[in-house]
Amino acid sequence: MSKTITQYDDSELVIACQAGSKEAMECLVKKHQRSVTSLLYQLAPDWSDTSDLSQEVFIRVYRGIHSLRNPKTFRSWLNQIVVNLFYDELRRRPRRLPTISIDAPIESDHGESDLVREIPDPSMKPDEISLASELDHVIKKAMSQLPEQFRTAIVLRELQGLSYEEIAESIGCELGTVKSRIARARGRLQEILSPYIDKRQEKRTVNLNG
């Protein structure tokens, strides 16, 4: 029995696209549209035009698919296009200066350091807020406050499930740099989300104890 186009894997679809099949292109787009849109949102949670940017990603795919020599690497090539587009857009969009994120790394003489700016939070304490309704807001805020390079690395690792090597290839930097950015992003998020994590842990303990 012959396969329908939806049953082909990425590399088969890429080869069909390279031969000019628009049906294969449609299939590739439908297969990856949600993950591309999610990745763009995760990289830039404050941008409201992620859907338009996803379209731009697939236009770049369409224009460049003939140059993809190894169709098996489609997924990482696609991630690379998303990350490149994200950085292109960052350069193109006006920065909201002079505001500075309180979580932006403080530069020392030797480069980035782990020092953070300590500013008291006048808002309600986490235990006063409804956990579920606040979490998405808090996480979005925490992520948007991470420096872009840290956010890109943690998103590719945690949410896209890429290996360190794949991330290094996608963002064009050394393996050691990737590891360091991920570790720093993790530390930063742990710190910000710590009250919520403790609360979840307490809840789990209460549930376990009946």
Binding site: K30, M143, L159
Partner: protein
């Protein structure tokens, strides 16, 4: 709770809560994209050639620019020539591309001679 447990919780929270709220449907997304792709390289201009001299398949973009060049060099049959002319009269985008190619050709047709004084002679 050690750091690893804490990080598993962070990872879990990210996966659960850090995602876009509104998702556009696949079909809607493709319909919109398909229109954009179709408007990138208008079919009227494309060359009839499907592959190059090395026998590798030409992309739509390559076929578009070769088609425009063939038109510019009067290498297309009269019926196709008329169809392209009609299209260029209607389509601003293709006209812009045609003019860009024409300008590029004009520049290439001149030869430049630069003197040590910095003066440039067009021949």
């Amino acid at each position: 709770m050690d750091d690893n447990d804490k990080y598993e919780d962070v990872s879990d929270l990210l996966k659960k809560f850090y995602k876009p709220k509104n998702e556009i449907s696949n079909n809607e997304f493709w319909d919109e994209l398909s229109k954009k792709l179709d408007s990138l390289f208008h079919k009227e201009i494309l060359t009839d050639k499907l592959s190059n001299e090395q026998e590798s398949i030409l992309t739509e973009e390559e076929r578009y620019w070769i088609g425009l060049e063939e038109y510019l060099n009067n290498q297309v049959q009269s019926l196709k020539h008329k169809a392209i002319t009609d299209h260029l009269l209607k389509c601003k985008e293709c006209r812009k591309n045609y003019n860009a190619l024409l300008d590029k050709k004009k520049v290439l047709n001149y030869s430049f001679k630069t003197y040590s004084t910095g003066a440039i002679l067009l021949t």
